[in-house]
Symmetry: D2
Subunit: 341 residues, 4 copies
């Protein structure tokens, strides 16, 4: 059986695991106060050209999103997100469990537009009943989006400008950020993100780590005592060094972006094969997630041999599926997959 | 200046106030344990033909909705509501502050359809990712809706059947229930509501009381120790008798429905005049709230003389407004309003 | 049966009710934006010598406490209170339901001491594990306390100084504040409170109103957009004028303090009688709540004829009870009570 | 520098790390649905003699406690715990952030007594104001306690009986459970725990795992859809197999208890040396945490050479410290420590 269901099927990049082995019996203080965390923070600051950045490590994406959003918002505020946003769809109501509404806006292939955000906020304060409504308190985007698409630098600048005009912090969910950075034609660098967003996270779980996300606030002080909130939500890892070690490794010699490229190269190969065979895409492929429309018989045949994720029903005879590659995808498996298309 | 902005501009019906005066210096125990609350509960049970009903009095609608919904749902569940539902639009995120997502569905003139609810729930459990999504835990409707429209008995039966099929409690927000009961052609009685809904509230604030809503659970036991949750949320009135006295009065000799009729009669008169003069309605009028489309010059002229609520922009030259009548609306004011149309 | 169980057995002072009658059919805008609320706010500012004060009206004490505390604290902070504090004992966990720990300190007859607060905060930050503990974020006191005792001006000054030293807002629960202001030897005026506390509320429910509490922030801006939080928690009264009218009346010609004196005079009379007959007090009486130690046979005999509140078991043969007077207590009932002692 | 500050200074037991290495490039489905999790669950069920047990893996102790407690309690309920309980002292208010009060009872060397719990619950319902108070909804204990002490089987049976009498689920925090199981004279086996508690967790983070805790409900169904709550709180690990692999290894051939013994043996050696030299213990040592009273000069001298945790001030000239051993503590380091005493 081949597996292309997701980008977190394997463990960690071998270099990451090697570091965990090498340092296993070292004794370090807990909760992220160790030298490995500090080294990783410094390397991330450098990669982001954000020398003052506050960097916190957490274990997973949902907890990072929920913790940050809860910490950022006042009780009466909500978070603007694309209707397709991960926090709106696939985090089991974690934002609401923290007391806040997700203000879902329409999207284009997973992306929020600056125009829509601007209109929403403007209309909101023009509404005579706004004090009885949930005030927009921040904006959430993901790069790449849940549909694997990318904001261009121009789009991100426009969003950032609208957010600043309305005093709304802009937060980027980078669960798969490596695959955005490695994508063809991507013009949004870590430095650009650090300059245009108020907070973002660099995803490790899906890009080479066993687990782990690095939350970055380029200009510290946006949130008072975030570390206490992290502790309170139970998402502070006792052996914090496990996170530090992984990110230290990933941000040494550009490993993070380097290994991400494999996912793009493998995706490219699959895209070419799909196009040749006349498959239709639900979304134009840009990164490591491919959304393909299959006839239901094709789906039945393929899914008997290949793990793929059923995404949504398109019509009575067609279904969209997701094929995902990752840093760990092997070319032989890609070739095997292509053989079955 | 004439006032038609809302249905809670005045105080209470004179008979209600008279009872408060008469009993003012009586000494009663607190927190709803007094004889007036008990008498009111008994009259409400009788009016609903629900002799076992559990009845709780609260001060206002938002607190009643938020308390009931929080008490009803498990942490991972959300509440299905029309996108236009009061809990989704105009309660400042109270449901989310209690930890739950509002699962907003499309609506027709403010109403949810049984078909849409059934499809939503069916699709939800058919989605392979449903465990990462917010599970539907109950259904919220309002009668009349936020647009003044009414569910028919057939519609309510269909909704109730779908809810029972999926084990979803059905909750009706009756902030203006009196105006539904008094409306022409309404076929949804209190008994029908008690038989088809799992919980609902009879609104007093907008129908003759100074304030107050009566939450009714026809078949008790649906929620364990609701009274403790009411206390904890700070919405248990110390002098609970104030609520008991008001509902006891409103449910004596059919006062509640009787005074509601005035709102309907006054609304009818305005509707006729508007139709004669060729005004267009945003929503076909059914109860005491009229949604009328005005040219912006008409709006400017009218709102200089009459308090009306601006509802929403229709297009660049038209705006929808709301005109509301109530139990307290005087015919002379209606005539004066008509004179200005 | 005589009733001395509590100070909220009756309705409102006749002048308050009269105002509600007179204005009943007036039409006013909702949610506290009416002229009566504004007039009441102005009179309260004057009485507190706090011309810039932000004043919000709420319906009851628990909701006022829970709303203010939730609005004031950051997620990781708790509220310091006496172990006997109302928020710690008798509000059904409303503060915790809002996400915050009550940091309960020992008390002397219901009072927190400046020394204890200072030591607690100092020890807290000296604890090497403090980042894993709930940070003190504000201080809650009540005047009079739950035991009817009073802070002296010197004690309040000392507490205020400690709070300011540690940047902790000081909040006073004044559910029965009228009875403190009217008490013999009280030297803590409204002006003093407004100058020494960051926020406090003036209780109406127990001192002449049907219901209602006036939350005062002498120096506004301590809490951003408190009104939205009030709305979200469902504790904003639709017909806000009901609160405005009541406080406008209570703060006209000193009615509030004037009617409170009756409770003190009646309490004095009972205290004298109790002392003459050799009864022992659990707490030295200072205001309108008397905590008396009865032999269990005395309790059985008395409670068959007089409503009194059983407070706590003292030992196997003695029980402490609470006798409460109020603005509404009649001398004839006091005499009758004394006759039964 | 020697390190005895805590029992989570090192990484994982070598066999655990080896398994992670061996399986690193295997592809498994996420979120705990893989074969390693299933194998670990089965081994844990066997070790607990609880064939029907529901087993959930989480990353850390605070998140396990907070998730379970939130899932278990109704909104108006609190959790009874020893005043010294980890949830009351050192989890940054996580339980309260989930909406619940910790009902802190006095303790004897960290232990709750059945008598105290019984009296608390009995007194609670005898209190005429109980409906305004936080109802006890479950009981939390830890084994070993935060002071390293152990419940005997007789004590646990008594507690369990009291809990069942009052219909209170009994929850055991086993962050260091391995060290209890391995302790001299311990008579509380996993089977006994599974039979007497309603839910408990077996701690991995401090006993051989990189991280991870296994929550066990011996009789499933106590909590509806706990997995959804785990997901919602953001504590479901994407690569759940990392947890499964670790617990599968720890529960193969009794590794868990076997490696825990090292901590006990090393602690014994330190205890003997301390006793010989006349040191005083704050708490009689039973497991791997030793609470020793030092003169302040001793503390200054020792802490310059050995990492130990300052626990609390005893008096002006004495301080209590904690010395912790673990599965990873080396005898040479223990000898070096003894040399410095």
């Amino acid at each position: 059986m081949l597996h292309f269901e997701s980008d977190y099927l394997e463990g960690a990049h071998p270099l990451v695991l090697e570091r965990l082995m090498q340092t296993n019996m070292e004794q370090t203080p807990g909760y992220g106060t160790d030298v490995y965390c500090e080294a990783a923070r410094e390397k991330i600051r450098l990669a982001c050209a954000a020398p003052e950045a506050e960097v916190h490590f957490m274990v997973g994406g949902t907890q990072t999103n929920a913790t940050l959003i809860t910490a950022m918002l006042r009780p009466y505020e909500g978070v603007i997100a694309a209707e397709s946003g991960h926090i709106n769809q696939h985090e089991a109501g974690a934002v609401e469990a923290g007391g806040h509404k997700v203000l879902a806006l329409p999207h284009a292939e997973g992306k929020l537009s600056a125009t829509d955000v601007n209109r929403y906020v403007t209309d909101f304060y023009a509404n005579p009943s706004w004090t009885a409504m949930v005030a927009p308190g921040m904006v959430y985007i993901s790069q790449p989006t849940e549909y694997g698409t990318l904001y261009t630098l121009a789009e991100l600048r426009a969003l950032s400008a609208v957010c600043r005009k309305h005093h709304l912090p802009l937060y980027m969910d980078g669960a798969r950020l490596g695959y955005a950075l490695a994508a063809h034609g991507n013009d949004v660098t870590l430095e650009a993100i650090a300059s245009l967003c108020d907070v973002f996270y660099i995803g490790g779980t899906k890009v080479g780590a066993l687990f782990g996300e690095a939350l970055v606030m380029p200009r510290p002080g946006a949130i008072r005592q975030l570390s206490s909130i992290i502790k309170q939500r139970g998402v502070l890892l006792a052996k914090g060094r496990l996170l530090g070690l992984q990110f230290d490794t990933l941000f040494t010699d550009g490993l993070y972006e380097r290994i991400a490229r494999n996912a793009i190269v493998m995706a490219d190969k699959i895209v070419s094969a799909l196009k040749e065979r006349g498959y239709r895409f639900l979304i134009t492929p840009q990164t490591n997630q491919l959304f393909v429309v299959l006839e239901n018989e094709q789906l039945a045949r393929l899914s008997a041999q290949v793990g793929i994720e059923v995404w949504e029903k398109v019509d009575d005879t067609h279904t969209a599926v997701r094929i995902a590659t990752s840093w760990a995808t092997r070319e032989e498996n890609v070739d095997a997959l292509i053989g079955k298309l």
